[in-house]
Symmetry: C2
Subunit: 498 residues, 2 copies
């Protein structure tokens, strides 16, 4: 079930690198063929960015990275591959040559995806001797965060190939969207190209600058489209009258004079230079690395919101989180004392105006560690579905040190005591060697239907008792059992001025 | 500075209602003229949805709502208005009639915005006797959440009118985008219309269903556009070579065959019905109210992410939050004992798998109450900029009861003690009459540059001392000074089975 895949990437770069990062971070092995002299550096940069983003996105231990190998020849890279992804430049001749070589060298069962944003499968197949396993798998940048992959097959393809591709993609957190018929540019790039064309006209005619066009998107309909598309948005706008009525009303507008700008503006060197100049003015404040990080932090935030709301792309993230947990749970985990069950990288969005991790995020880390503990002793969806749960009734936190953004936090956990219905846990949050906080928590096992405390059921009862017995040999940790002390009624103001 | 505006809305409905809600929730008065028999109900629904969303978006007390009045005549509604917003159906004859009446009746200083999505200001001016104050102010649905307003003027307008409009819009959290030249459909609807045209073709030709097109958007580029637009996204994709080079490379694709579908598909009744059918299949699971709530929850989440990351539309939210605080701070606030300085409505995203507010959100509410307390005693941006801050060093929480989504929580705060450098606060979180949690917190005043504890400066020192003295008359609250007790080492497993 969690068998490791072997992925071969032909062509690195931004898109190929994104594919590589997804497979590696999901615990699968990747073999790369890319003759570009800087391929290793470029791919390494993409993986580093992807790993940073995934730690923020998933808040859970990631599986051990798969093995990354670089090969001097295409044949060596694709040997034994389950999935080969081609991400070479968008020129039909190059695609034909590379895909022919891949189809000739790859195992018979291999899925061979092309990252082409424009070519139809039939275009690709026309120049290949063995086209049956080659299909379009078109991703979106950044590939390690955006789930969408457009999947397109042609008449020469094996039956069911896209369904197989969909299953593999789900294992790396991607959503395969099967396109019903081949057309140039598939679906998304048709829409994008239409917007691009209008955007170029607006700049060309001096109606708006690149920054103004971008603002028209991201302060308005762009926010809508991160969660609902064109049609669902309009369905809501249409109101009670219904979608068919809305379309009938909206239809005439398509014939209005504002459809007159249908042609492509002449892309003169002057227009290209003007767009470059406006873009510098708009975005030149930040270098590319910074822009990428800003973009990724925003995307991670959106994906977390959607996951919390169980909607759209957030569902891909939730499923991938379960997949990752499965991979990690299959890995042997030392049952150490204290337990180490939870790690997290601190996102920038957790920082307060002082630039430090804000107060309640300490408790969030502790709460996640408690959840990891409960999972460790056997509390799973089935246990909860039976109407059993655990509530925190009391918490004592000592904030001992500041935590900066990007810090990698690990939690050590001790069972300080347990009885039939209660559990006393102690967490230490570590930033490297530094203890940055301790948390002591009294938890109560409850029968949620009856709405009252109830004894832990097996297997939790046994496992907690065993851990409590083992951990009782440890000295009581610093800060356990503490209370907040009274402050003597000194005249604060007077002393402050003294 | 926080003088109340009078806004007049001519035309309610979804768009007009959104404008009304924005002004009301920002503390300004609104007079409505809308002859629609259901106008009050429709507007009331929009305001209720908007208020729910704003409580989740801002996490702070909102100012008292402005006064809402309904009028039987347009003249009565616009009398004395600072801003009049016209949101009547998109027909030039109707716009001319209504805008003429408004321009004739409104005060000379009034700004008169039209919500038109397609007409140029000159189109509107052509049928009006007094056009100088009438301009395009085109918002985006939901108007109470999306900040964008396209502002367009024509030759007949007063100089500087759009700058005046921009300033008023900023007071209700909106971002006015001044369009440099009049064109049909301004900027955003040009882009939207292009996508709409392509989308209709894709459905018409059976390439994709409405749900598939929406997925192609919201699992892919839609996520990008909620934070960066077309050009900034491509700038990153273009990499080190620069934007001008990227454009030159991208340019030829515009001439590819995929630009062939330029015409508008024939909007036959069959196509309209087919889109209606597909939309039902895609979204019919949820009724419109539910879809609106899902949409708003997602948008609120994105806007909060962007605010935390200080980016894009989040900056509008942050500025509006300051504006709202200013309005609230100007309102007389009873200096009660205990203090009541913080309220919040619990978003769905704060709930755990049990459907209750998750553990660390209790501490978030307490932390926000602590911030509100510190602001109350005079800690402002200037105080912090001087290198002074307050850190929490210890916290004791008792979780006493569950909290459901949409609950309106209020916090009562007592000063249990203070000395020169320390402050002991006690918060009770109330859900109506129920105390759902208490929090006791030891805070330390620090000199952030020196990195060590330091005495509170004025005015905090005086105000804290005064509150400490006053609150010392209160009995020590239940739970103060408590610690987590040890659990006797009973054999948990044995008892659980007994």
């Amino acid at each position: 079930m969690t068998e490791r895949l072997k992925m071969a990437a032909v062509g690195g770069g931004v898109i190929g690198g994104g594919w590589i990062a997804r497979f590696l971070l999901s615990g699968h092995d990747v073999a790369v063929f890319d003759p570009h002299p800087d391929a290793r550096r470029i791919i390494g940069d993409v993986i580093a960015g992807a790993e940073r983003a995934w730690h923020r996105l998933f808040d859970q231990p990631l599986p051990p990275r798969g093995t990354l190998t670089f090969h001097d020849g295409l044949e060596a890279a694709v040997a034994g591959a389950d999935w080969v992804q081609e991400s070479v430049p968008e020129t039909l001749e190059i695609k034909h040559a590379v895909l022919s070589a891949i189809a000739g060298a790859a195992p018979a069962h291999a899925l061979i995806g092309s990252s082409t944003s424009g070519f139809k499968p039939s275009d690709l197949h026309a120049g290949i001797a063995k086209p049956a396993r080659v299909f379009v798998a078109h991703p979106f940048n950044p590939v390690y965060l955006l789930p969408l992959v457009e999947l397109v097959a042609g008449p020469a393809n094996d039956d069911g190939i896209l369904e197989d591709a969909e299953r593999v993609l789900a294992r790396v957190g991607m959503k395969g969207l099967k396109v019903r018929a081949e057309i140039d540019a598939h679906i998304a790039d048709r829409l994008l190209e239409a917007v691009w064309r209008e955007g170029l006209w607006l700049v060309n005619d001096g109606i708006a600058t690149t920054a103004e066009i971008d603002d028209a998107i991201r302060y308005g309909f762009g926010l809508r489209w991160a969660q609902m598309g064109l049609f669902e948005t309009y369905r809501i706008a249409g109101g009670e009258a219904g979608m068919t009525h809305f379309i009938e009303q909206f239809g005439p507008a398509l014939k209005w004079p504002w459809t007159k700008l249908m042609d492509v503006p002449e892309l003169t060197p002057e227009l290209a230079a003007e767009i470059g100049r406006q873009s510098d003015e708009q975005s030149g404040l930040h270098d590319l690395r910074t822009l990428e990080r800003i973009r990724d932090d925003n995307l991670v935030g959106f994906l977390r919101v959607l996951r919390e709301n169980d909607w759209g792309a957030g569902q891909s993230v939730a499923e991938m989180s379960e997949t990752l947990r499965g991979v990690v749970d299959d890995a042997p985990r030392a049952d150490t004392t204290p337990l180490r069950l939870h790690e997290v990288t601190v996102p920038q969005s957790w920082l307060d105006y002082n630039g430090h991790m804000t107060e309640h995020r300490y408790l969030q880390v502790m709460g996640d560690a408690t959840d990891a503990f409960l999972a460790h002793v056997g509390m799973d969806a089935g246990y909860r579905a039976a109407g059993r749960s655990v509530y925190t009734v009391e918490t004592h936190i000592r904030h001992l040190d500041e935590v900066a953004g990007d810090a990698r936090l690990a939690v050590e956990t001790l069972v300080l005591g347990a009885d039939a219905k209660r559990l006393r846990l102690f967490h230490r949050i570590l930033d490297g060697e530094r203890v940055v906080a301790t948390g002591e928590h009294m938890l109560m096992h409850v029968d949620t239907a009856a709405g009252r405390a109830s004894p832990f059921d097996a297997p939790l009862s046994d496992r907690i008792a065993a851990l409590a017995a083992r951990h009782s040999a440890e000295p009581l940790p610093d800060g356990a059992g503490g209370a907040i002390r009274a402050i003597a009624r000194a005249p604060a103001a007077a002393e402050a001025r003294g």
